[in-house]
C-alpha cells in the first residue's frame, strides 16, 4: 500500500441469502482521483456503496480508509471518518428547505447539544452562524443557492441531485461517493455536473462515482472499476477498460463498445 491510496478494499464479499452480491472485490482509490464504478444493472455497485458506508455489514473483506480500517462501523461513524455519499434514489429531507438539508450535513462536524440549544450561549450562536454560512456557500458551490429557502421536494430533479451533493460535501468528506448523480439529467445538466465534479476534485476531495452515463464516466474518471455479477472483471484507465473484451461481453454483445468509441 502506497501513501497515495486513500481507500483500499480487500476481498469484499456480501451475500443476500444465496445471491453473491459481491464476491472478493479488491480495489484501491488514490488521493485526489475520480474513480469510476460501472457495471450492468445488478452488478453490485450499489451494494458495494452500502457495504462501504456501513449500511450493510460485509460478510468478508476489509476496507482500509486513510490509514485505518473501517470495519463494523455504523453509517454515522463512517461519515465521521470522512466518507459521504449520495443515493441512487435521491434521499433528501423532503419537507425541509434546501438550506436546512445542507445545514444537517454540518451536524457531524459541529457540537452544540441540548444545553447550548436552550441557553443560546455565544459559542452556540457562533456555531449556528458558521453552519448557516457554510451551508449557503455550499449551495452556491453546487449552483442551487437561489432555491435555498424552497422545500427540497419542490426542487427540479437535477437540482435535487446537486443539493444531495452539497449536503454530502457539508460533512467535509475526504471521499465523496456518488451513486448515479447524472441519472435523469439532460445533456446540459450532465455537462454542468461534470464541471462540478472536476471542481470538487480540484478542491481536494476524492470522488468515487457510480454512473451509467458512459460518456461522463469516460470523460471524467481517472480510473474505472468494472463489476459484473458481484465480481471485479476489470480495472484501469477508461481507455483500457473500454477495450477489455470481458467488459464488452458483460455489456451484452459489444453494444457498449460502439457507444464508448463514439464518446
Amino acid at each position: 500500500m502506497t501513501a497515495l491510496s486513500l481507500l483500499t478494499a480487500t476481498g469484499i464479499s456480501k451475500r443476500f441469502g444465496g445471491v453473491h452480491a459481491l464476491s472478493d472485490v479488491d480495489f484501491t482509490i488514490n488521493h485526489g482521483e475520480i474513480y469510476g464504478l460501472i457495471g450492468p444493472n445488478g452488478a453490485g455497485k450499489t451494494s458495494l456503496f452500502n457495504v462501504l458506508t456501513g449500511i450493510y455489514e460485509a460478510d468478508g473483506g476489509t476496507f482500509n480508509f486513510d490509514g485505518e480500517p473501517l470495519d463494523r462501523l455504523k453509517p454515522n461513524q463512517v461519515a465521521e471518518r470522512g466518507i459521504a455519499r449520495t443515493f441512487q434514489n435521491i434521499r433528501l429531507f423532503q419537507n425541509l428547505s434546501a438550506l436546512e438539508n445542507v445545514m444537517i450535513g454540518r451536524h457531524v462536524r459541529t457540537h452544540a447539544g441540548v444545553i447550548g440549544a436552550i441557553l443560546r450561549d455565544k459559542a452556540t450562536l457562533a456555531e449556528e452562524a458558521a453552519i448557516e454560512k457554510r451551508a449557503y456557500e455550499l449551495l452556491d458551490y453546487v449552483g442551487v443557492a437561489k432555491r435555498a429557502n424552497d422545500q427540497a421536494r419542490h426542487l427540479a430533479y437535477g437540482d435535487q441531485r446537486r443539493l444531495e451533493i452539497a449536503r454530502a460535501l457539508a460533512t467535509e468528506p475526504k471521499l465523496l461517493a456518488l451513486d448515479e448523480p447524472a441519472a435523469g439529467m439532460n445533456a446540459t445538466e450532465t455537462q454542468t455536473l461534470k464541471a462540478l465534479l472536476e471542481n470538487i476534485r480540484h478542491d481536494g476531495t476524492t470522488i468515487l462515482l457510480i454512473e451509467h452515463d458512459m460518456k461522463l464516466v469516460m470523460n471524467v474518471c481517472d480510473r474505472v472499476l468494472v463489476l459484473d455479477y458481484g465480481k471485479k472483471i476489470a480495472e484501469g484507465s477508461a481507455r483500457e477498460v473500454q477495450n477489455d473484451p470481458k467488459v464488452v461481453a458483460a455489456y451484452l454483445g459489444g453494444e457498449i463498445l460502439l457507444n464508448l468509441k463514439g464518446a
Binding site: 458506508t53 449500511i55 455504523k74 453509517p75 454515522n76 461519515a79 465521521e80 459521504a84 455519499r85 443515493f87 434521499r91 433528501l92 429531507f93 423532503q94 419537507n95 425541509l96 428547505s97 438550506l99 436546512e100 445545514m103 444537517i104 450535513g105 454540518r106 451536524h107 457531524v108 462536524r109 459541529t110 457540537h111 452544540a112 447539544g113 441540548v114 447550548g116 440549544a117 436552550i118 443560546r120 452556540t124 450562536l125 456555531e127 449556528e128 452562524a129 453552519i131 448557516e132 454560512k133 449557503y136 456557500e137 452556491d140 443557492a145 435555498a148 429557502n149 424552497d150 422545500q151 449536503r167 454530502a168 457539508a170 460533512t171
Partner: protein, 357 residues
C-alpha cells in the same frame, strides 16, 4: 443566528404589551364565569406543556408515541409521594418539579432504548404497552409495600407554597383578591412560557434539525453522520421531562392523584392535540392543546341550556353530545385540514451571508 438583530418595530412592542395585558387579565375575566373556568385555563396550560413535550417525539423526530401519558403519571406520582402525608414527606415544589422532570426523563430513556429500531405501527404498539404498564404499576404498587396506595390514589398533596404563601388558598394582594386557581394561573403561565421558549429554541438548533432529519429519512440522516441512537433517545428524554413537569403541577393543583387519570384516553387526547394542531409546528400544537381543552368544556356548559331553550327540556345528556360533537369535529378537521389546523411552513432564513458577497 448570524442575522443582525433588527430593531423591533414599535408596533410589535404594542402587540406584545397587549398580549401580555390580556394574559394577565384573563383569569379575572374567566372568574366572572366562575372559578371553574380559571381551572380550565390552568388545564389548558398543562395540556400545552404535554402537547409540546409529545410534539418533540412525534412532531420533530417522527416517532409515534401512544403511551406518552406515562411520563405525566411519573411526574405526578413523584410529586405526590414527596409532598403528601402518604410518606410524611413535604419537600418544596422547586425541588420536586426538576426531580420529577429528571425521573420522567429517565423513564423516557428507558422506553426509548428498547424501541430504537422500531418505527411507525410497531413503535406505537410498544409505547402503548409502556403507558399501560406504568398505569397498572401505579394501580398495584400498594402491596406488599404500599408505595402508590393503589387505586385509592394519594390524597392531601401539598399545593405549591413558598414560605407561608400557599397557592392552594385565596389571598389578598394590593387590595385585590386572588383565588387559588388564579395564583396557579400565573405560575403556570410563567412555566408554560418557559417551556414554549425552550421548545422554540430546541427546534431551531443543531439538535432540532437532527430530529427533523430522522423524521424525514432515517437512513439518509445516518449517512450524514447523525448518531440516530443518541438523538432519538434525546427526543424521548426531552419529551418525557416536559411530561414530568406537567405531571408535578397536575398533582399540586388537584391535590389528589390516582391511576385513573392516566389512562390510554389521555394519551390519545394529547396526541390528538399535536396532530390536530399541526405536527412539528409549535404554534399549531399550542392551538391544538387550547382548542381541545376548551371545546369539550364549552360544549359541556352550553348543550343543556341550549336544549332547554330549543325544546323546553333536555333530550340528550350533555356528556353524550359533548363526545359526539367532539368526535365529529375531529373527523372534520382531519378530512379538511389533514396537515393540522395550523401546519408548519418552510422556515425562511434571511441570509446575510448570502448574495451580499
Amino acid at each position: 443566528m448570524s442575522r443582525r438583530k433588527k430593531a423591533i418595530p414599535p408596533k410589535a412592542w404594542i402587540g406584545v404589551a397587549l398580549i401580555a395585558l390580556a394574559l394577565a387579565l384573563l383569569p379575572f375575566v374567566a372568574a366572572i364565569a366562575g372559578q371553574a373556568w380559571v381551572r380550565i385555563l390552568n388545564f389548558a396550560m398543562l395540556y400545552i406543556m404535554l402537547a409540546l413535550g409529545l410534539n418533540i417525539v412525534v412532531g420533530f423526530a417522527g416517532l409515534l408515541d401512544l403511551g406518552y401519558i406515562a411520563f405525566y403519571a411519573v411526574g405526578a406520582y413523584v410529586y405526590a409521594l414527596l409532598a403528601s402525608p402518604h410518606f410524611g414527606l413535604h419537600l418544596p415544589f422547586w425541588i420536586i418539579l426538576p426531580l420529577g422532570a429528571g425521573i420522567a426523563c429517565l423513564f423516557g430513556v428507558l422506553l426509548g432504548a428498547p424501541t430504537l429500531k422500531l418505527r411507525g405501527d410497531y413503535l406505537a404498539i410498544v409505547t402503548l404497552g409502556f403507558g399501560e404498564i406504568i398505569r397498572i404499576f401505579m394501580n398495584n404498587l400498594n402491596a406488599p409495600i404500599n408505595i402508590t396506595n393503589g387505586p385509592q390514589g394519594i390524597n392531601l398533596i401539598d399545593p405549591f407554597h413558598i414560605g407561608t404563601l400557599s397557592l392552594g388558598r385565596a389571598d389578598t394582594l394590593l387590595g385585590i383578591q386572588f383565588s387559588g386557581p388564579q395564583k396557579y394561573y400565573y405560575v403556570l403561565l410563567l412555566i408554560t412560557i418557559g417551556v414554549i421558549v425552550i421548545n422554540l429554541r430546541l427546534q431551531n438548533s443543531r439538535l432540532g434539525r437532527a430530529w427533523e432529519a430522522i423524521r424525514e429519512d432515517e437512513i439518509a440522516a445516518k449517512a450524514m453522520g447523525i448518531n440516530t441512537r443518541n438523538v432519538k433517545l434525546l427526543a424521548f428524554a426531552m419529551g418525557a421531562s416536559f411530561g414530568g413537569i406537567a405531571g408535578g403541577i397536575f398533582s399540586a393543583t388537584q391535590q389528589f392523584v390516582s391511576p385513573e387519570s392516566f389512562g390510554l384516553f389521555e394519551s390519545v387526547i394529547v396526541l390528538a392535540m399535536v396532530v390536530l394542531g399541526g405536527m412539528g409546528h409549535i404554534p399549531g400544537v399550542i392551538l391544538g392543546a387550547v382548542l381541545l381543552t376548551l371545546l369539550p368544556e364549552v360544549l359541556r356548559s352550553t348543550m343543556e341550556p341550549l336544549q332547554h331553550a330549543l325544546f323546553g327540556r333536555v333530550y340528550v345528556d350533555a356528556e353524550i353530545i359533548r363526545l359526539l360533537v367532539f368526535g365529529i369535529a375531529l373527523v372534520a378537521i382531519m378530512l379538511y385540514r389533514p396537515a393540522g389546523l395550523w401546519p408548519s411552513a418552510v422556515r425562511k432564513r434571511e441570509l446575510e451571508t448570502a448574495i451580499t458577497k
